[in-house]
Symmetry: C2
Subunit: 535 residues, 2 copies
Amino acid sequence: MMEGKLLISQMMERAEKLFPKKEVISRTHSGIHRLTYKEIGERTRRLASALENLGVERGDKVATLAWNDHRHLEAYFAIPGMGAVLHTINIRLSAEHITHIINHAEDKVLLVDPMFLPLLEAIKDHIPTVKAFIIMTDEELPDTPLSPIYSYEDLLLEASPHFEFVKDIDENTPAGMCFTSATTGKPKGVVYSHRGITLHSLAMGLADSGGLSEADVCMAVVPMFHVNAWGLPFASTWFGTTQVMPGPSFTPELLAELITSENVTITAGVPTIWLGLLKELDANAERYDMSSLRAVLCGGSAAPMGMIRAFEEKHNIPFVHAYGMTETTPLVTLSRLKSYQEDLPTEEKLQIRAKQGCVVPGLEIKAVNDDGDIEWNGQDMGELLVRGPWIADEYYKDDRTDEAFKDGWLHTGDIVTIDEEGTIKITDRTKDLVKSGGEWISTIDLENALMAHDAVFEAAVVGVPHPEWQERPVAAVVLKPGAVVDKAELMEFLKPQFAKWWIPDDIIFMEELPKTSVGKFQKNALREKLQEHLV
Amino acid sequence: MMEGKLLISQMMERAEKLFPKKEVISRTHSGIHRLTYKEIGERTRRLASALENLGVERGDKVATLAWNDHRHLEAYFAIPGMGAVLHTINIRLSAEHITHIINHAEDKVLLVDPMFLPLLEAIKDHIPTVKAFIIMTDEELPDTPLSPIYSYEDLLLEASPHFEFVKDIDENTPAGMCFTSATTGKPKGVVYSHRGITLHSLAMGLADSGGLSEADVCMAVVPMFHVNAWGLPFASTWFGTTQVMPGPSFTPELLAELITSENVTITAGVPTIWLGLLKELDANAERYDMSSLRAVLCGGSAAPMGMIRAFEEKHNIPFVHAYGMTETTPLVTLSRLKSYQEDLPTEEKLQIRAKQGCVVPGLEIKAVNDDGDIEWNGQDMGELLVRGPWIADEYYKDDRTDEAFKDGWLHTGDIVTIDEEGTIKITDRTKDLVKSGGEWISTIDLENALMAHDAVFEAAVVGVPHPEWQERPVAAVVLKPGAVVDKAELMEFLKPQFAKWWIPDDIIFMEELPKTSVGKFQKNALREKLQEHLV
């Protein structure tokens, strides 16, 4: 067989050749732009040429601080297409962490949405590796002490549309990198290879995975600085899928409007996004038409079953649960019913689909606890281990590599059960699991049960030090606006659903829960706060 | 990223773990067998263990002379799973050619359907590399001078069900091989790697390609000795798809019955097979239920548009044209409408779908003639070139490698046009093209036009030496039973459709057309016969 290298550039080349008329609909500060893949392809080549003119060489890191828009998409292909490395910076990190990761990656050029200029201005004296700032705008360049600065559109105008993507690189060459927050310490860097992203894109296109097709209109709501927007910009371009890019500071209303006006068929994001959309649909269903949607992909953290039910039963929108992480590019599992499960009672099907699903072709999983590999019986809990060609094998120049990568497996830090069908269910994070008198209690199961109560908007459960049991669960609950319920009633609500020793020792009510930059519950902050609660 | 080797064994392992209850329905000489993937997996491991006991080592060639059934499927995974090479022998080749390829491949063990024993008995003294014959039967071993012979089922009974597939091999290790007939000389061998077959399987699963899903019931009618049955046994196993294997000497009635009884959703084969099925459905539609079928994949040679129309309009069966060859594993293109073509008039859509389609993700194509790369304008003709990770880069130990593999491209020998949409249309084989006075005439276009006539069952057009024009086209036509038409009427029928100089100089009527072992028109035989026809 020929070598046939798995390089990202083939994706854009296919879009240019086979789908020149298909569109990317991009919302930016200056409004909605509609560009064809022919135009995107040409602009991508111009951007690569411009970066080359600025001195970017193979292996250099070029970073983005940007939303989901067409310029970010062009960067996705121009940077790996010239043999450089696309570093997507999570703009929700602290200034201190952003400074750290720019230095750690040794970013040479930054592509910046103008709204992040104040952030960069504040740290400009601490990022010496950066040789140029490119402002992603079609408006006049703002007044800024950053230097040297360039206008994205001006650079493109002056650059060559005939740039040839480099082909004489190995498929294992780094193509991208992304930093993931750590519980303690600085963010950890993950490097993606051309091969890994290419294989991941194929997995996304499989009928039983994303099933991404030319006929789809895909709106990645998950930010492009978060695990490559789950690889959707790559796969969509490769398959000629129409892309809708919601841009900066979008709202649930805006998402619902874009789905309606652009006939979006598939969209992807974290539960917080879908909770917001759900509220909007509940309040203003008559304003929107969601009938084009064939799948809402949800990942990042577990979606409460009540949310899945609401999307499907109230709004007739198919909801697909997926699982992955920054270290896994990210697709690991996807929750779809097997054909012979289609005849099960509705409630049972919902139970299955609320789990994280089965591993996609190309990867391997198992789960381990102190006794070794767990049985696939849906009961035993163990830490999920993953391996395969789009799984990281290290953190970028980081001593913490050894904690997570052992014996050829990524140790995910997620505690799961796996049932006879191979369906995994996240029951907790290793660090969040409550260890009560030597037994494990899943905080996620308790949270999901609480959030299924009509009065509860959000709930988080943490392990709190206890003099007798080492740790006991305590729940923090945010009620829906106007809802009234007391602690005793919630306790009674939980009791029939769990073993007695799983019931939290206390339930406290809060105005809002602390969250991370990507919308996950920040349990360490909550634990900190409740440190003395049971002593 | 981890190395995550692309090995075939992961496919069977996934089927065993995630789809142990799903079934393979296998028709053999002793009737229909239903086995689960759990059973198939265990039997595959037993077969690998048995082969190991017989002395098969890594890199050894193990050949099959077999139909599409569960034992052949087990061989598909056991042989590459132990690091050996699966050599699928085309049982329709001549005894002389089969002798040659066994010797050329140096096959060590043969797995044989009992009906091919007479063939092997005749050549047994000329295949010295073969150390064992395994008879694929659950019945008593026949009396045969072949030696040593073993019963497949007895070997499995004695072998270990715990064989571990080898993992310490490179993904570029040979996994299979297949010989393709040549116009002149011995068949040419193509070697498939683990990587190539794995990537090809992913391409088969893409929504816009085969879209093969767990929910599908796939019946590969294309023989498993013909380019791995287009990779469907591999992909189906990986994705947990139910497989229906039609076994030996099937008839159109049998295929229609299997589709009806097993609710087949996708099936694949060459035009000859579908012509047969069409006749059966036309005659006895009331006996069958074809409503489960979502796709009839057709490749191997071009399907006449009339056939596509008949399947879709008369029988409501979606027909999908594909293109590939032994050298390409085989999937290169697949003909699906783009979303914006769905609104075209029915006739125009049929015209597009009768072409071979667009290149699938992962491969590259272009076409060249004496002037270099042709334009993608749907008019210019050139030879199709293909490259990518599941394209062969040589013929196995064969001097003819240099004719077909040049500058990193496979030269397919197929003459095509490519339109603005990237849709390729085969207009001829290089060797079949009629060169009339320096201009090219597509014999396939003429054949398709003739076969669109109500009275015509089959037609072949060949170039025949001509004193003035070097070559001129002559058509050979087989009429439908009972149909009456004369030469003049067919000529008149063609005239409005082609330039004057494309019209054949003569049309001759035949009882049947000479065909190759895989059902393609044997044009060299026809040319031979008509050598003196125009002088």
